[in-house]
Each structure stands twice: as C-alpha cells, then as structure tokens.
C-alpha cells in the first residue's frame, strides 16, 4: 500500500515536471514569436528582453513570488511565507500519512508555478516591443513577477478571496494571460506608438515583422507548451478519472487551438481577401487562451467552438486596437491574451455549472483593476525616473545597436526602414 502511495506520488510529480518543462518551453515560443514579428533592427533586443525576463521571473518568484502566492494571508492581503527556502520537501512518512492528500513534490509544484509567471511576463514584452528601454523593462519585470502577479495569483490560486467567491479560472486565462495583457496595456498607454506607425492624418501604417518562419515556429512551440500549461493544471494524474481528465484537457486544448486558427484564417480571408498568416497564428493562440479558463468541462466539440469564438474575436480586436484606439501592439498580445482571456473566462459558465457570469465578471474586474492599476503606477514611476522610451535616434537606428551593441542579422542586407 505504502509503496503504491509512493509510486503515485512519483508519477504525479513526474507528470508535474514534464508539464512544467513544456511550459518552460513556452519561453522559447514567446521569444521566437516576438523575434519574428518585430523589425530586424530590434530583434537582438527583443531576444535579450525575453531571455532576461525569463531569468528574472525565475529568480524573483523564488525570492518573493511563490511565498506571496502560496503563503498565509487573510484572503486579500497576502503574507510572505518563506515556503520554499526553509522547509523541506514532503517526507515519505508525511506522504503516506496524508493518505493521498499530499501527492506531489512541493518543488515540482514550484517548478510548474515558476514557469507560469514567466509566461505572464512574456506577454508584456511583445506589446511594448521596438521602443521600450531594455533596463526599464527589466525593472518592471522584477516588480511584476515578484509582486504584482503573485498577489492576484494568491487571490485565486493561493486560496484567496476570488477563489472563495467562486471565480473559476482553471489554468489562467485571467491569472496569467489577462494579467500579462493588463500590465502590457498600461505600459503601451504610457509608451505610445512606434514612430511611423501612424501618419499625421492618423492613418495606420503597417510595420511588417521581419521573419515569419520564426513567428510560426514560436506559435507551434506555444501550442506544444500549452499541453503542459493546461494539462498540468489538473495537478493530478494518478487514477483513472484524473488520467481521463488530463486526456480530455489535452484533446480540448488542441481542438480549441485548431478552431481558433481556422476561424481567424477564414475571417481574415473574408475580410481582407488574403489568408493572413499572422492572423492565423494569433487565431491559434486565441483558441488556446480561450480554452485555458476551463479546458475540462467542455466536450471536444464545445472546446473547438470556444476556440473558434476566440479566433473570431482576435481579428477584429487587433484591427480595432490598431485603427480605433491607436494602441500599437506589435504582436497583438493585448488582443490575444487580454480580450480573448476575458472571453475565455466568460465562457466558463457555458459548460461549467459551478460558474456564474457574475462571479467571472468579478474576477475579471478585480484582476484587471489590480494589475492595470499597479502596473500603471510602476510604469509611471519608471518613466519619471529612468524613462521608458528609447530616444528617437535609437528608435530610428534600432535598439539592437544601441542597447545590445550588436545586430541580430549582421550580414544580411536589409531594405532600409
């Protein structure tokens, strides 16, 4: 018996680690996606940002984030607990004594959680690309990953008040994706559009990404990683019903992405007359974000539909952000993760009877308000001190030379911009 309990624990821990490794891989996905969608003169810098933010997220979440998110607290105000660094992992004795209540290594949980916070931060880098100062961005990353994210994470996943209220967000359409988008939105508002994005008459000028194979690769990496993101969020695998649940999550995650891709591609074809690859990619990501709030209760067909709506939303959202709100988001992160994240949260009640639209709205408002508000504050402070925007000359020359001192593609001659 004890051996079975130990073996179950080992399997669930391994499942967690494998899922965590897949989520870590999403860092590569965001990096490639963003590197493909910026201009070549800003490519080395966006690579540096993505590498750096991942490392910062890992360190900050270890130092303070995890302790805030899964510490003690009164449900609203978290209390930093030094969970990770002082306490030992579960002993075999404890595990056996728990009768199956303790079924995975705490450190495997930490590993899984730490890669999530990096995901949230990755969303920001895309939206502020091509004009945000490198070190100001890193400073913001420290605050988001060490404080802003964990606090709202505590409210939901740490067992805080949003959880108590019945807000449902299975794998993080809100806690991770909308959170990242809200922080990004605050940054973009203070930052302004890239030079040349809007003409004096307010017309939009497209600024094409330099390397679409990279962007496509990034999307496929994210798609793969999302199996870990959603699949691992079931937290347990080691009996028949849990194994079935994880399987359903894999199937639904895949179906939603496929649905989102097809819907966005068809809509773009109908609207613009062309099969816009970048919209197809965003459609797939939208499908993934949409299903993330609840990948377990929908049937595969329903999951496909939820993803399709995500895909149908992301296209006009990107266009309106661009044209109407003049929000310059080079990779469409705010639409994909924010607008569609909200859709995902609101879609939960469609298949999960435990959820209500009211509670979902509450969760959305709370998370958005917290993340947007605090981020706006932090961005503002940084703006007033270090500054957040590169100089005009630097923007014209590209951040690569000025911030990194090297070029992403030094040998290839490029048409001037």
């Amino acid at each position: 018996m004890d051996q079975i309990t130990e073996l179950s624990y080992a399997l669930d821990t391994f499942y967690f680690l494998v899922c965590g490794a897949l989520v870590m891989w999403m860092a590569a996905g965001f990096t490639m996606l963003e590197a493909g969608l910026v201009r070549s003169k800003n490519t080395a810098e966006i690579l540096t940002k993505n590498m750096g933010l991942y490392a910062i997220a890992c360190i900050m979440y270890m130092l303070t984030g995890y302790g805030i998110m899964y510490g003690e607290g009164n449900g609203v105000i978290p209390q930093l607990s030094d969970l990770l660094l002082t306490s030992a992992d579960n002993s075999a004795k404890e595990v056996i004594a728990s009768g199956g209540e303790t079924y995975y290594s705490n450190l495997s949980d930490f590993f899984f959680q730490v890669v999530f916070v990096a995901t949230a931060m990755s969303i920001v880098s895309g939206a502020v690309a091509e004009r945000m100062k490198l070190w100001s961005f890193f400073l913001f990353a420290v605050v988001l990953t060490g404080f802003i994210y964990p606090v709202q994470g505590y409210w939901k996943w740490g067992g805080g008040f949003l959880n108590e209220l019945g807000f449902i967000d299975f794998a993080g359409s809100g806690v991770v994706h909308m959170c990242g988008a809200a922080a990004a939105l605050a940054g973009v508002i203070l930052l302004g559009a890239r030079k040349g994005k809007y003409t004096k008459d307010g017309d939009v000028k497209a600024i094409p990404g330099a390397n679409l194979p990279l962007a496509t690769l990034g999307t496929l990496i994210l798609w793969l990683g999302w199996f870990g993101f959603n699949g691992g969020s079931e937290l347990k695998l080691s009996d028949v019903s849990e194994a079935n649940a994880v399987s359903l999550i894999f199937v639904n995650t895949n179906a939603a992405a496929a649905g989102g891709l097809i819907a966005a591609l068809l809509l773009a074809r109908a609207w613009f007359g062309k099969a816009d690859l970048t919209m197809a990619l965003n459609g797939a990501l939208a499908g993934l974000v949409a299903i993330t709030a609840e990948p377990l209760t929908p049937s595969p067909i329903e999951a496909t539909m939820i993803g399709m709506v995500g895909g149908l939303l992301v296209v006009p959202s990107i266009v309106f952000m661009d044209r109407v709100f003049k929000i310059d988001d080079p990779v469409g992160a705010i639409s994909v993760h924010g607008v569609v994240g909200i859709w995902g949260l609101l879609a939960v009640p469609l298949t999960n009877t435990d959820a209500t639209v009211g509670m979902q709205l509450t969760g959305i408002i709370v998370i958005f308000a917290w993340v947007f508000g605090t981020s706006l504050l932090v961005w503002t402070v940084i703006k007033l001190t270090l500054g957040i925007r590169v100089s005009e000359q630097e923007e014209y020359d590209g951040s690569d030379i000025h911030e990194c001192g090297l070029e992403a593609y030094p040998e290839f001659s490029r048409t001037s911009e």
Binding site: Y396, I401, G405, L406, E407, S413, R414, T415, S416, E417
Partner: protein
C-alpha cells in the same frame, strides 16, 4: 538628357519619391548602398571585441530626366532630403547620351 544620382538617408526615400513625382518625374531607380563620409561610422561590440562599422546605410536614387528639369529636380531632392545633420548625402549630375525604353523601343525624351 541628364542622369541625376543622389545619395540620401534611407528614411528620406519615400518623401523624395513623392516630391519628385509631384514635379513630374516618372521614373526612379533606387539602390541600397553603404556610405563612407564625414559622418563617422560607429563601433559595435561583439563578445567583448570591438568591431568598427565604417560604412553606414544609405540609399542611392537615379533619375534620368530631360535637361530642362535638372535644376528643379536637384532643388527638390536637396530640399526634401535635407535634415541639416551630417550625412545627408550628395547629388551628382552627369550626362546621358541616349535613353531607350525597352518595352517600346522609344528613345530620347520619349523614353524617360
């Protein structure tokens, strides 16, 4: 007929194209080039080793025009491409003995 060759800053290309089109120029050929001049290059660092970039990206435009347009075109280019900062570039004027339009075989002013 004359050939006007101008070396300009790349981001001025669209403005110059627009400006000369407005005064009736119907054709331009543009080339990416690298320029060395009074505007110094810069030093990049790669893995701790320096690396001097002497040549800066410039755009060369060539326009074949009728003799009587020379002054106006040159002026338009100079005015549009000027930023006042070093590195704005040069305009060269040279003579063309003949111009032929490949599609029709027309020659001379007709062909421009």
């Amino acid at each position: 007929m004359k050939l006007i060759t101008a070396i300009i800053k790349p981001f001025k290309l669209d403005d110059v194209r627009q400006a000369v089109a407005d005064i009736g120029v119907q054709g331009i050929t543009a080339t990416e080039v690298k320029g060395f001049g009074r505007q110094r290059g810069h030093t990049e660092l790669y893995r701790g080793a320096e690396y001097v970039v002497d040549f800066l990206p410039k755009t060369k435009i060539e326009l074949a025009i009728d003799d009587d347009l020379v002054e106006q075109v040159v002026e338009t280019i100079v005015n549009t491409a000027r930023t006042g900062k070093i590195g704005d570039g040069k305009v060269f004027v040279s003579n063309l003995e003949e111009v032929i339009r490949i599609r029709t075989g027309e020659t001379g002013a007709e062909a421009i």
